[in-house]
Each structure stands twice: as C-alpha cells, then as structure tokens.
Symmetry: C2
DNA sequence: GTGAAAGCGCTAACAT
DNA sequence: ATGTTAGCGCTTTCAC
C-alpha cells in the first residue's frame, strides 16, 4: 500500500502527472473542473506530496537545525520553546541536536545538520569548544548560521544575545541602593562573553557608586560543585560579603543555602541575586531575586533573523546583532529599598 | 558553487556515476585503485552525498519524530535528552515538535511529522487531548509509534511508562513508616493513567497499613495555581494532614512553602514528598524527598524500542510495554525512621 | 488547458 | 571491474 503518488492520481483520472501537479498547486492554467476533480480525488485518497522529492528538486528542505549545549536547563529549554513556536508558525521543521557541553558532540552535530542539508542553523556554543572550524564549515557550505546566547567569538556571523552588561549593572545597582557595599560576584570563565559582560556590568555599577573593586570578591563559580567549595571560603573573608551576585540561579540558590546554614540571615545579613529567573527562584526560602533573560523571546528573535536570511528578506551585508533586554525581578532574597 | 555531486566526480575522473557510487560504499567489485582515487577525490572536494536523493530512492530517511507536551519541564527535557543521545548513537536524526499541552498543536505536530515522512514517532500526550484520530493516522500510515509516559489509552501501540504505582506505593509506605497517618494526596486528573496509577499506589499503601482512605484528603492539584488554592483548604481540615504526597515536585515545593508560612514545621508537623527528583528538590528548605523517575533512561528505552520496530528487530506481534523503575530519594522534608 | 520529456542526485539491476 | 539504463516522486520548460 504505502503512499499514493501523483502518478497514481494521474493514471486513475486519465490525466498527465504534470496536470495533476499543477492542479494541486492551483496553477491558473488549469480549468476549475479539472482542479476540483483532482483535489477531491487527492483528498479522498489521502494523497500526501512526497516532501523528499520536492526537496530534491528544489534543493531546499524547510528545515532548521538547532544545537544547544544543554537541554535539561531552564534557560535553554525556554529558548528552544521560543524557537519551536516561531519555526512552526513559519512552516519550518526543527532538526534537534544536543552537544551536552561537549566539543566532539558539537562537531558531530554540525556534521549531522549539514548532511541533512538544513537551510539554516541556530547554535549556542558548548563550554568546552575552543576550535571553530566546524562552525566555519557551515558558512563555507553556504548554510545560514545564527548564534544565540553563547556566541562563538571566532566566527563572524549573525547573533542574538542577552544584554548581559545592562542586566548585571542594573542588578548590582539595586544591591547597592538597598544598602549592600561588599558585593561578591560568582562568575564564569572570562572567555565566555556572557560572563565577561556581566563582570563589566558588575564593576561599572561599583564604580558609579565609588565603591572599591576587590579582586577577592570576584570568583569563577558557575556550578553547584564550585559553589560548595567557593562560597564557604568567601564567607571566611573579613569583612564578610554582604551580597552575592551570581551567574545563574542554581549557584545563587546554593549560595543562599550555604550562607543560611552558616548562620547568616538572607537578606538581612547577606543579599543574594541570581540570573535567569528559572522555576527555582520561587521555591527557595526566601524566594530569589534574579534577572529575567527572556529566553522565549530570544528564541523567537533568533529564528526570525535566520528565516529572514534564508528567504533573503534580511539584506544587511555585514553581521546582524540583536540584543535582548533583561529585567530585574525583585523577590525576597534582597533587601527592600 | 553549491555542492559537488557523484556525477561531477564521475566526469572529473572519467568514470561512470555507478562506479563512483560503488567506490564510495566500498563495494567489493571495485578495484582498490579506483576506490582510492575516488575516495581521495571525494575527500579533497568535500563531497557530501545528498541524503535527500538517497532517501528518495530508499523511501527511508532515518529520522525520528518526537512530540512532547512541554519542554520547559525537568522531566520531559530529561527524557528528550535520553532520546537525543540514543538516537544519535544509532545514527538517527530527531525532528522535534512541541504540543505545548495543546490538542490542536499536537494534531498539527503529527501532520508535520507524517509530511516529513519520519520512520517513527515518539509521543507523550498533551493534557487536553481527548480525540485520538491523529494518533491512529500515524499507524494507518504504517509509521511506527511508541508512546512514553503520558500514553494514549485510546490507541493500542507500544509504550514505555514509569512504574507509577510502585513509586507511589513505596513513597507513601515510607511516609507511614516514619510516623505519618493522615496523608494527603495532591493528584491529577484520573483520566491520566500516570495519575490514576499513583492514586492506586497511594491507596494500597494506606490499606496495607490498615489506615482509612479519606476522600477529603485526595484532591486534584497538579499546578502551582491549584496548590495556592487547595493546600490552604486542606490545612483547615480537622485533624490536619500530617503529610502531603504530591504529583510533582513543583506542587510539593509550594505545598511546603504554604505549610511553613501557615506556621507548620516541615517535616516535624507535616512531611512533604514530591515526584520527579528535579533540580528544585535540592534548593527548597528543607530539601524535598521525592521519587526519581529516571527520565533519561525512559528516553533511551523508548528510542531503542522504536528503532527495533523500524529495523524489524522487535518482532513481537502485539503491543510491547516497558516499565521504568522508580526510586525513592529521601531528603529532608520527611521524617527520619 | 493539457501532455511529453527532462532532470534533481542517487542506486541497483542488468549488461559487457 | 566498469558502464548503461531505469527509476524513486516531483516540477517545469516546451510543445501543441
């Protein structure tokens, strides 16, 4: 049985395949009568055009590849959700790859997507990636590429990023306004632009308020494991920090937990601020002040930009950069004004 | 420029396309010399076989479709992660759809995947789905279908489910053993097998210990919004419940929060147990006892079953059901033995 | 308004 | 060991 084809319809209706093809796509040169006959027959016999064949002819397959470093992750799954919705609206399918923060898997993902001949790729770089040849290959193959969030500094192409600098500036400013002055920054590797931009926002906020920038208050601490090691050390400093500004909500939640069990009150003794606004910010005690990254919107914006490149609607010659605004969400882990 | 084809190689090397084709796939009838020449030329010119064309010939495209109801969701993203990893290992691509708990989008997702002529579909049903014709259509199109977790009761096909009954039984048994006797069940619609099975596990645990089954202690409460309404009501009961067994970790976290701010101590006055073992169970105060669902493993098992159907390795005539074991993870929101 | 024929890139009989 | 041919399902000139 399998599937009915154009030819089958043609034979059954005593027409040529080309007529049937035209009838199906409402070609003007086909008589209304023929068109109706054909379309009704197709409908009745559940004819599905073979997309593979169409794609082979047109050499375009309406499929977008996505590479995320991590999927069990509030922010990336939110972005993916936005990507999916917008892609679906625009009639594109999503081929999904997951690098698992692993360079080798990222390289394989790119290969997979190029082999599948997607018409564009959305990618966020894995933490362990130091070589960029695989990304360059995408461009060399004339496939459109848009980076989101974790952009690759080695490749000059379109990108969509969070306004990390402003987000951090704003958050730290709020901490200062609410009375904190020894603010620790639990950051990430400076080689990641998102981490570096936040550090600059952090430092500039301190400068604006004429507060000293103490190197000991700035540490790389972007995982739960690191938090368990780093936060207790920082609580030994003299004087002790009166706030933690953290690179993500998990680290913030653990920092809070550790500070509490060391006898500090949050936020009275120590304020804590996260980054992302994930689920967990509402279930910690107290609830966690954080910076919303608008991941869903980022996904939508990234897909739209990519599709505009694919369809040629985005004509800018150089690189297009989109910036997604952040929003400080004040909950109960920081003091009131 | 575009891509170089078999024909191009053939022309350049003065061979026929079929020879090149055979050389590329190490066909035994090709002389080692020719093979080397061809493969080297291909390598050098970055020849990529056009998968579309191959797929058109073989009418198989090595692509598996996935439909999840929700992606910004710890459990489903964990399952997806397992699916992705195993599919990649087996050389299958993943076409990704997201119903967003919406029946209409689920129907469209199925259509999308069938149009794309995937060779199999993994699906977890949306909460709002009451008609099953779209799933039936998958089978009618001779496309393999495996349900996972939220199986569709109206369709008789392979499935992979959590052992919800045993998970609930075990968890409630633990609550009883640690001294609780008025245990509330915050469940979900009984039309969902996962919810119904857990309710049965809950009730059987009570029966085994000769505890009464009080209807007032069993409520539908599967979202944060419902928790805010239902939990305060239950705290008004006389006598008050001394434990909450919850359908998911979010509800459990909120129940704990609400109980705490009503002046109850957790776990001294009220024990709380969740379901999933998501991130949030480690950041609540106290940390949340829960039932691990082994989502990653579920994803792997589901893909393997599907691929075995596709390749004909799984020959069982009827329906294959796989059961994933759960595991009680005792943290600090339940009393010690 | 409709049909015939060619071709997208590949593979697999069937020659030789 | 290699070449010829046909065909997967579709679209699109070019005829008539």
């Amino acid at each position: 049985m399998g599937q009915i084809t154009l030819k089958d319809i043609a034979k059954a209706l005593n027409l040529s395949p080309s007529t049937v093809s035209r009838a199906m796509q409402n070609h003007p040169a086909i008589s209304p009568g023929t068109r109706r006959i054909v379309q009704e027959y197709a409908e009745e016999h559940k004819y599905k055009p073979n997309t593979l064949a169409m794609q082979l002819r047109t050499n375009r397959n309406n499929t977008i590849g996505v590479i995320v470093p991590e999927i069990v992750h509030y922010f990336f799954s939110t972005v993916l959700s936005g990507i999916q919705q917008e892609a679906e609206n625009e009639g594109y399918n999503l081929l999904f790859c997951h690098s698992n923060e692993d360079y080798e898997r990222e390289v394989r993902s790119v290969k997979t997507l190029l082999d599948a001949r997607v018409c564009g790729i959305l990618a966020s770089q894995s933490k362990t990636t130091n070589h960029f040849q695989h990304f360059q290959e995408i461009i060399d193959n004339d496939v459109h590429l848009v980076f989101f969030d974790r952009i690759c500094t080695g490749i000059n192409t379109d990108k969509v990023v969070i306004d990390d600098y402003a987000g951090a500036l704003h958050a730290v400013d709020h901490l200062i306004q609410t009375g904190c002055s020894r603010i620790a920054f639990l950051g990430s590797s400076p080689s990641m632009p998102i981490a570096n931009n936040r550090r600059m926002g952090y430092e500039d906020a301190l400068r604006r308020h004429k507060l000293p920038i103490d190197k000991r208050l700035s540490r790389i601490c972007d995982t739960v494991e690191l938090a368990r090691a780093v936060v207790p050390e920082m609580l030994q400093l003299d004087p002790v920090p009166d706030a933690f500004f953290c690179i993500n909500d998990e680290v913030a939640a653990y920092a809070m937990q550790i500070a509490k069990s060391a006898g500090f009150r949050v936020p009275e003794d120590i304020s804590v601020c996260g980054f992302t606004n994930s689920y967990i910010t509402d279930v910690t005690d107290p609830t966690l002040t954080t910076v919303d990254q608008h991941g869903f919107e980022m996904g939508q914006v990234a897909v739209r930009l990519l599709i505009n490149r694919i369809t040629g609607k985005e004509t800018k010659q150089g690189v297009v950069s989109r910036l997604i605004k952040t929003e400080l969400v004040v909950k109960n882990s920081t003091r009131s004004l």
